[in-house]
Amino acid sequence: MVDWLNALTIAVTGIVSVFLVLGILSIVVSLSGRYFIRKEKEQPEQSEG
């Protein structure tokens, strides 16, 4: 007999973890992206100065 409660726990943990990991990754990467874009914009000014 399948332990349905256990199965449900496994599936819910799985779905939540997948979205959590990729969601956080998405936020972290967009923040680092913003940082890099800003740095790139500053670069030409620095070389002039």
Binding site: D3, W4, G14, I15, V21, L22, V28
Partner: protein, 371 residues
């Protein structure tokens, strides 16, 4: 003397070839035919097919403890060595640029794991145990090495079947994706041209594998074997200073381990493991898992569009099923069919590589709670 002669004679292979062996040969030849004549995943199906053929000769001892194929299987697959090495090569081949440029597509790679869990429950309903159901569900992630890694861990007796199912469905991506994606989108949605992607700097590309490792491994430690190798391979390529290591990872090494992996998997496919109704169920569940994965990706893309400014073409959600880069190519073709000036290929690569990470995470979670 006559008796001794008869005894020796009985050891001859041909008298001991069982019906089961011959049936497995038919399957081996069918896979070889598909690989050689139809070009279906030949890199894997040629070694797997030949492995099945060779392992089904009587008295070879190939799969007995200490036998050649046993060594391939035991040290390469059962010990979980080869799938991470394949991930090293895949990491060295992967361009994370598109997903770095458009990080929200990470979520599409997550949504496409829906198929994994749908198939997991359906497998349980059909009477599979929890570890078996997890191994079958992961087929829906459309990622061969991850499927093999998880099955070797949780349900080794199903290894041959899940591996063959995963690789054959990957080859069927061009047939499975279009009808589902078409059903869930309008022509207008498919025709939508996405804004051009920003350029991703070298620094960002180097930082990415490190940032990604931190986030993923801290949250799901059991995904570490696959994720560390994936990110290391990527760092080899993006750092630009170890071209030799990057090259050997994505070419020589991945080819060598693929041979051992393919033969080792084929060798596990004995008549009693393969010729039973479970195999048919697994193939049916595999295609259902795939279908729901596509649907999950497309539907989340449509849902995301309700909130975001730079809308995405919902088709790229379908590429969340990994199967890199076939799924992205299918998306490109579908987008172009709706609008000749629509080029979704690079946009679809974002969810495509995110799907690989998503599946590895899903496998890591299964590993940490089952058993």
């Amino acid at each position: 003397m006559l008796e001794q002669f008869l005894e020796a004679f009985q050891g001859i292979g041909i008298l001991n070839l069982s019906w089961g062996n011959m049936a497995m040969w038919v399957i081996a030849f069918a896979l070889l035919y598909l690989a050689i004549k139809k070009g279906v995943e030949p890199l894997l199906l040629v070694p797997i097919g030949f492995g099945i053929f060779a392992a089904n000769f009587p008295f070879t001892g190939l799969m007995d403890e200490g036998g050649l194929f046993y060594i391939f299987y035991h040290y390469g697959i059962e010990n979980e060595l080869i799938p991470p090495l394949i991930f090293l090569g895949l990491g060295a081949m992967t361009d994370f640029g598109p997903v770095i440029a458009n990080p929200k597509t990470f979520l599409l790679g997550a949504a496409a794991q829906l198929g994994v869990y749908v198939a997991f429950f359906m497998a349980l309903l059909l009477g599979f145990s929890i570890p078996e159901a997890a191994s079958i569900g992961i087929i829906g992630g459309a990622d061969g090495p991850t499927t093999i890694y998880l099955t070797a861990n949780l349900a080794p007796h199903l290894l041959g079947t899940t591996a063959v199912a995963a690789y054959s469905y990957m080859a069927l991506v061009p047939i499975i994706i279009p009808p589902i994606a078409r059903l869930l989108t309008t022509t207008k949605e498919r025709a939508m041209v996405m804004e051009q992607m920003r350029e991703v700097s070298k620094g960002e590309r180097i930082i990415f594998p490190i940032l990604a490792s931190i986030v993923i491994i801290l949250l799901v430690p059991k995904s570490a074997p696959l994720i560390t190798m994936f990110m290391l391979g990527n760092l080899f390529t993006e750092s630009g200073v170890v071209e030799r290591l990057a090259n050997v990872s994505r070419e020589a090494l991945i080819n060598i381990v693929t041979i051992i992996l393919g033969v080792g998997i084929g060798a596990t496919m004995s008549a009693e493991n393969f010729l039973n109704p479970k195999t048919i169920y697994i193939f049916i569940l595999g295609v259902i898992a795939f279908a729901f994965a596509v649907a999950g990706g497309v539907l989340l893309a449509k849902f995301m569009n309700l909130f975001i400014k730079n809308k995405v073409n919902p088709l790229i959600g379908a590429a969340g099923v990994s199967a890199v880069p076939m799924a992205a190519r299918v998306v490109q073709n579908m987008g172009r069919e709706a609008n000749r000036d629509n080029f979704l290929l690079m946009h679809a690569m974002g969810p495509n590589v995110a799907g690989v990470i998503g599946t590895a995470v899903a496998a890591g979670v299964f590993l940490s709670i089952i058993k």
